[in-house]
Every structure is written in C-alpha cells, then in structure tokens.
Amino acid sequence: MKNIVIKTDKLTKRFGDFIATNEISFEVYDGEIFGFLGANGAGKTTAMKMLCGLSTPSSGSATIAGFDVYKQTEQIKKNIGYMSQKFSLYEDLNVIENIEFYGGIYGLTRKQLAHKTGELITQLGLQTEAKKLVGSLPLGWKQKLAFSVAVLHEPKIVFLDEPTGGVDPITRRQFWDLIYAAADRGITIFVTTHYMDEAEYCNRISMMVDGVMKALDTPAQLKQQFNAGSMDEVFFELARGAKRKAD
C-alpha cells in the first residue's frame, strides 16, 4: 500500500474568464519519480505553483505531504524543495555561502549544515570551486548544485521545473543520477521537462493539454495505449489537437 504524498481533486485556477488549470485530479505516491508534461501554456506552471503553495487555487482541493493547499501553505513550503531553470542560486554568493544560506532558511542546525556542506561538496566534486562565486561556474555545475541545495533538508517532495534545459548530454545524465539517488532516499520527485527521453525515466507521467490532464500512466502503458514507439509520439498524439499554444 503506497503512501500518497500529493493528492488533488478537481483542482482549478481561473484568471478572470480564462481557466488556466481545469479540474485536474491525480495522486502522486511516496518515492515516485513523477513526470509532469505538457506544451508551453498547457497549464503546467500554474498547476505547479498551486502545488508548491505559491498560488491559491480558485476551486477544488489538494493536499501536499498531508498539508492542505489552502490553509497550510507554510507547512507545505517547509516540507518541499524547489528548483527551476530560471532561478536557483545567488550568483554573487559563493558555493558554501549558498549552501549555508538555504540550509539556514530550512532550519538546519549548525552541525547538520557543516556535515551536509562537506558531503555535498565532495559528492559533486566541487572542492576547488567551493569559494568561487556561483555566477562563475559553468551551467551544468550550477544546476547540479541547485538540485543538491533543493534537497538539502531532505524534503518529502522536490519540484523540478525544467531542470536540465540547455545542459550538455553528459551533465544531463549526471543530473538524473542525482535524481535517482534522491528518489532512493525516499524523496518524491515531481519534474517537468521538454526532453522526451527523460519522460522515460519517470515512474509515471501526466500530460496537460489546454489546462486539462489528458493522460496519466506509466510510460510503457501510454506507448501501448497510443500505439506509439516513443514518448515523443505519445506527446505528439496528445498535444497536436491542442487549441492553446501559449506560453
């Protein structure tokens, strides 16, 4: 019997007349790698913001790590991690300062922080870079560091918004090694991506089209269902009828 860490029921977000997210209902299980896919403008970002406690839903319900998305957003934030391509770390702080800052924000004790910082730096091989400003690091290292910082406090769930955009193929796979390692430690991964091969690494996938969740299953089942040879084809089948090609 798997634990449910995210549960939504007809979760909706309206902006005036426009329904960005339309009654999505789904569950995410403990320790899962859950792929949240969809075209730009399909409603992914809006949905993710609601799940992170950053935006209040218009209607419907959701619980994240057991906390209600309307009334307990502060507890939600304490129990999740977040990383996006646009912002991850402070460029004018060095590696150690970034780690210490986020550790402090999430309430790690000084001892925990010291231990974790050393562990992280060794794990990522950043010993010579530790005192360098993050802005001077290559993109791939920044992303890996950002992910590690997002899971520093061992949250229940980590939300990743297109974390591997623009990164070289080897670093991309190293990043997924980190994701696997985190999933092994029991952290649930909620990730969006435009790389269809990454969709295959997920336990289950959902696809948003025009604000509605059009599919939810394992990659293997989806390929069977749509008689497709790859996730690329599945995506194409589902998305090409979309009316909203928005960003």
Binding site: N40, I170, K245
Partner: protein, 307 residues
C-alpha cells in the same frame, strides 16, 4: 558557392578568462540548412553574434555573402536576417506594427516580400492587432521569424529559436525552416537539442567553444567508433548501476527507454555473457539489441574523447 566562411575565429570575455570560441572554422553553402549543435556555453550565441557583426572576434576572420565580417559590416547588416535567442521585438507594439516597423527599417514593405512570409504570417494574422507582448511563445517565434525575413535576406541566422519550447511546436518550426530553404535562403540555426540535428543538412557539433565534428548527420553517425547496443530491463536504474560496474562495458548512458552501451572489446560471446551476468544480479525482462547511434551518442563520444 559558400555564403558563410569562418576561419579560425576566437572570442574571449572578461580579459581572456572565458574562452567562448576557440579556433572555429567552417563554411555554409548557398541554400544550405546548417546547424550549430551544442549545449549552453558551447559558443553558439557568440559565433552567431560575430557573424551578424554584433561582436568583434579576438582573432580570425569570416565572410558573409562575400563581405568581411569586420570591415564590411554595414553591407552584411543589409543582407542578413537575425532572430536572437531572446524575444527582441517591441512588446507594446502590435503584430502588424512590429512587422511594418521592421519593413521600413529595411527599406522595404510588407507587400514586397509577402510571398516569403505568407505561410508563417497566416498563422498569426488573426492576432495582428494584438500587442506582441501578449502573444504566446510559439506565436512570438513566428512573428520574430517574419520580421527577420521581411527583407528577403541572403542568409538567415537563428539563435536557439526552439529553446524552451515543447516538441510539437519545435516540429512545426522546423517544417517552416524546411519550406524557407526551398525558397533558396541559406539558414544557419543553433540549437541545444540533439534530436534536431538530424533535421539539418550539415551540422557542427560544438562543445566549450570548440568544434568537435562537422559533417552531415548521416556521416557523423557512420563515423561512430565501434558498435552500439541498446539494453533494457524491468528495473532501469538498478540496471544502470550494474552496467557501470561491469568491466567489459566501456560506456553506458541512459537513453530513455533503453540504455546505450558499448563494449571495450568486441567478442562473439560478449552479449550472452552480459545477459548471464545481469541475470545473476537478479535483472529480468532483459532485452539487448544492436542499435544505430544517434547524434547524441556521437556527441557524448566526442565529448569524452576531448577530455
């Protein structure tokens, strides 16, 4: 006839601390669809900015349509179309206003070359009175492309036009590019997506400012050393670990549904031995088959070779 010729170009930033482009040379034939393939930091944007005369190289030279990149930059600026990586049109002007503004900037009119942009423009025409800032990402792309084509350029430079865009929109964009190529326009496009490489006629694989390979996608794939295999099992992440610990395998990378592996030494029995080894490690539902390398496989191989 070469539209673009690049010779040993170098570009550095921050007093030579950042080596963005190192000794890059290549050429693009007239009417060719040429791809610069590489991740962020490969030097794609720096190269394109130099070729569109926005930046000066530290060393080396290049010509576009016969004009020198440094000395004849004014001539180049009259004849190229440019779509920068970031949306660079006027957000508070409408679609139509943007288009007619750039038409006048290029001393032409929308009608003069309408046939060139018609296929693209009809897709955004219903929104012609909407402010550009309020367009969706895909529509912004299309508008930017129209503005880059409005004067019928000799060469079209597109800097990461499909970045951050989903696969369906990306496919549509490349279809548009193919149709443009048929009109005789030389196109130089950069992209971090390896799967788009096969849509180009010829590509240059770039990493950390250096060219790793220039050829047609087919040739590059053919040049892949050794044989490549795809393998999958019921538990892929464990499989990956096991494969990495297995000595006869010298490279192993996740590739979606399958892992791609290659062996250190080709022996007749290596496949069976591998299966047996994995079964002993409690892997089941194994599938192993030879597979054609993709550009991404080649890219990874080349990256490791340069290290």
């Amino acid at each position: 006839m070469n539209e673009v010729i690049v010779q040993q170009v170098y570009k550095t930033y921050q007093h030579q601390e950042i080596k963005a482009v190192s000794d890059v040379s290549f050429s693009v034939k007239k009417g060719e669809l040429f791809g610069l393939i590489g991740p962020d930091g490969a030097g794609k944007t720096s190269l394109i900015r130099m070729l569109t005369t926005l930046l000066l190289p530290d060393a080396g030279s290049a010509t576009v349509h016969g004009f020198d990149m440094v000395k004849d930059f004014r001539e180049i600026r009259k004849r190229v179309g440019y779509m920068p990586g970031k949306f660079s049109l006027y957000a508070d002007l409408t679609v139509e206003e943007n288009l007619s503004f750039f038409a006048t900037v290029f001393n032409t009119s929308i009608d003069a070359n309408y046939d060139l942009i018609r296929d693209i423009y009809v897709q955004i025409e219903p929104f012609k009175n909407r402010r550009a800032g309020k367009l969706s990402g895909g529509m912004k792309q299309k508008l930017a492309l129209c503005c880059a084509l409005i004067h019928r350029p000799e060469v079209l430079f597109l800097d990461e036009p499909t970045t951050g865009v989903d696969t369906v929109s990306r496919k549509e964009f490349w279809d548009m590019l193919k149709r443009l190529k048929q009109q005789g326009i030389t196109i130089l496009v950069s992209t971090p997506y390896m799967d788009e490489a096969s849509l180009c006629e010829r590509i240059a694989l770039l990493q950390a400012g250096k060219i790793m390979s220039i050829d047609t996608p087919e040739n590059i794939v053919q040049q892949y050393p050794g044989k490549l295999y795809a393998i999958k099992s019921a538990s892929m992440s464990n499989l990956l670990q096991e494969l990495r610990n297995y000595a006869p395998i010298n490279s192993c990378y996740a590739f979606g549904e399958y892992h791609h592996i290659s062996f250190e030494k080709e022996t007749s029995n290596m496949q069976n031995e591998l299966i047996r080894y994995l079964q002993s490690k409690h892997q089941h539902a194994l599938e192993l088959k030879p597979v054609q390398p993709t550009i991404e496989d080649c890219f990874i191989k080349l990256m490791n070779a340069t290290v």
